[in-house]
């Protein structure tokens, strides 16, 4: 009764045995999932591309190669000799350097959006759900109101009124990204609140905020992480859409959306590489996030204890 056989066998020394946490279990399950691991590798490669790219690119992303300018369709082709590995854009700027730049911005937008949603949304939802009653009512009505605002419209308005800047873009995305997360976190918190371990903590006299941080949040985290990995691509898509409308980041900064927009407008001139490269990175990154998100979901709640 005291301990199972195998546990008793481990007990040669009196040193405490390391337990298998649910996190460790989940990691093992995730690593067994081939698609998820492949997705993770792709994402790591894309991240490495964004980080290392500036140091290996032969051209700067702002410099115009005057040699190709009049003749982009021929001279601006991807080639190893000219150093334009991905070719150039319609203005004769190096597409490799521009794609690295766009990848940085797009990943940044996605990750910042997801981070805001994780931090703000989780805390907000957990507090609303834990305290319940009137606090919950007020907090969630605020979320409802914010959600009912057509955020694209507001975001575009923000960008038009305050000017296009990276900061405005982050503010706009930060304003909306946490709303869904708050709802998800609140719903999960309501379920967790019925658990006896929460009651035990309350009965002992643990303070409410300690309970939220110690008991609620760690048990929410599985769902939150899964949702956040799926949120990164949707943030990237929002940004791309805005850039596609010509309202995104400002030149010489660029993003996948802006590059795809530029490439698409040149499609009839026989310079498909301008569309192809950014689109390629955009697509593999989205798939990478989807696979990783799926893998995390399977790994984190097989039958959520």
């Amino acid at each position: 009764m005291f301990a199972t056989k195998s546990v008793a066998d481990d007990l040669a020394g009196a040193a405490p045995i390391k337990g298998r946490s649910l996190w460790a279990d989940a990691r093992a399950r995730f690593l067994r999932n081939r698609a998820a691991v492949a997705g993770l590798i792709v994402l790591l490669l894309v991240a490495a591309f964004a980080l290392i790219g500036p140091f290996i690119a032969p051209w700067n992303n702002e410099d115009i190669d005057w040699n190709v300018l009049g003749n982009v369709a021929q001279g601006g082709r991807p080639s190893l000799e000219t150093g334009h590995w991905f070719g150039t854009d319609a203005l004769g700027r190096d597409l490799f350097a521009r794609t690295v730049q766009g990848t940085q911005i797009s990943l940044l937008v996605g990750i910042v959006g997801a981070l805001i949603s994780v931090i703000v949304g989780t805390l907000y939802g957990a507090i609303a759900g834990y305290f319940g009653g009137r606090i919950d009512n007020v907090m969630m009505r605020i979320v409802d109101v914010l959600m009912s605002i057509p955020y694209m419209f507001v975001l575009i308005l923000l960008l038009v009124v305050f000017g296009r800047s990276l900061l405005m873009l982050f503010i706009g995305i930060g304003l909306i990204s946490w709303l869904d997360m708050a709802r998800i976190a609140r719903g999960q918190t309501l379920t967790l609140k019925g658990k006896a371990y929460i009651e035990a903590a309350v009965a002992t006299g643990v303070r409410p905020f300690t309970i939220i941080l110690r008991h609620i949040i760690p048990n929410l985290l599985g769902v939150v992480i899964v949702y956040a990995t799926l949120l990164v691509p949707s943030m990237i898509i929002y940004e791309s859409f805005i850039s596609f409308l010509g309202l995104g980041v400002q030149e010489p900064l660029t993003s996948w959306g802006a590059l795809i927009n530029d490439g698409a407008s040149e499609m009839n001139n026989g310079t498909l590489w301008m569309l192809g490269w950014p689109l390629f990175f955009f697509v593999i990154t989205l798939f990478g996030f989807f696979f990783v998100g799926d893998g995390l979901r399977d790994a984190l709640d097989p039958k959520d204890r």
Partner: protein, 334 residues
């Protein structure tokens, strides 16, 4: 007489339940989970609390440990009302009253190690203890409840149900409480493990001088470990007496039915005995019957039972029963 360790006086617990299909502003219905329950518990003693599912046992226990609001009445701790204490004092009081739960796995945070779980009350009430002191105390407590201290870094899902219940008991006892409320602590365990856990609780009670409020839905376990037993039906306490008195001389018709439902180990005696079996369902606590709440299922109910809530009568020997016809029950042909 000095004040008992714990006393409840006319304690009521009312839940507000949103009306189904109602408007958001229509007032919620009231569900009286506990109505005017009065109990006493002396230090170092065990009070058994029995009643069928939904009779309000857990609600009463929660009101005592302070996890549901008391709608009326008082909870006295050594004569001092804890309901009217301020929040900080109530939190500090948590050190003296701990709880053990029915579903042992549900009562342990799956993301925390056993050591962290057992240490939580200690860290809450004695924040000045050093890491080593906490660790040493947790190790001692684990040993005391029959767990190897080397398992301190394991997680709850790596243990069996009985072991999880031991962890829960260790957590409850680490602050050296005076009262432990055990809400059906063995109902969810295998029969073979139940006796071990009950024995452990009794042993610890003797060593540490604990008072226990031991909740169960039938008398089979409670009768052996309780000094006094209270019987609950639909939120009301219908009979209280010492364990031996209650078993030998039950007065309330509901208590009689409960006793009859505990099987006797010998088949011969089992067949020979007369068993008044309860018919019908427990009425809804939202709309309890008028007068005596047991009258819809009482074998000896009379017309005037619907008129008024029966008063609690002391029939001697500290035996309390709330049925005016308790002595006529023998004569009544069942």
């Amino acid at each position: 007489m000095s004040a008992p360790l714990l006393e409840t006086r006319d304690l009521s617990v009312t839940f507000k339940v949103a009306r189904q299909g109602g408007w958001p502003w229509s007032p919620p219905r009231e569900l009286q989970a506990v109505k005017q329950a009065s109990l006493r518990l002396e230090p170092g003693r065990t009070l058994g609390l029995v009643g069928e599912s939904g009779s309000g046992k857990s609600s009463l226990a929660r009101a005592i440990v302070g996890t549901v609001p008391v709608s009326d009445g008082r909870v006295l701790w050594r004569g001092e009302d804890i309901v009217s204490m301020d929040t900080a004092a109530q939190r500090a009081h948590g050190r003296h009253v701990q709880m053990v739960f029915q579903d042992p796995l549900d009562a342990l945070n799956p993301r925390m190690t056993v050591g962290q779980i057992v240490a939580e009350p200690l860290r809450t009430h004695f924040p000045d203890l050093s890491k080593e002191q906490v660790r040493a105390k947790v190790g001692q407590m684990m040993e005391r409840v029959g767990l190897l201290p080397a398992l301190i870094n394991r997680y709850p899902h790596e243990f069996s149900g009985g072991q999880c219940q031991r962890i829960g008991i260790a957590r409850a006892l680490i602050t050296d409480p005076e009262l432990v409320v055990c809400d059906e602590p063995v109902s969810a365990l295998d029969v073979s493990v139940q006796a071990q856990v009950v024995n452990l609780l009794q042993e610890l009670q003797r060593e540490m001088g604990l008072a226990l409020l031991f909740i169960a839905h039938d008398l089979s376990v409670v009768r052996h470990i309780s000094h006094r037993i209270a019987v609950m039906y639909l939120g009301r306490i219908v009979e209280v007496a010492t364990a031996s008195e209650l078993i030998a001389n039950p007065r309330h018709p509901y208590t009689k039915a409960l006793i009859a439902s505990v099987p006797i180990p010998s088949p011969k005696a089992e067949r020979a005995r007369h068993r008044p079996v309860l018919e019908g369902e427990l009425p809804s606590p939202m709309s309890p019957p008028s007068g005596c709440v047991f009258r819809t299922r009482c074998p000896i109910a009379r017309a005037d039972c619907a008129d008024a809530t029966p008063a609690v009568m002391n029939i001697g020997n500290d035996h309390l029963v709330s049925c005016p016809y308790h002595s006529s029950t023998e004569a009544s042909p069942l």
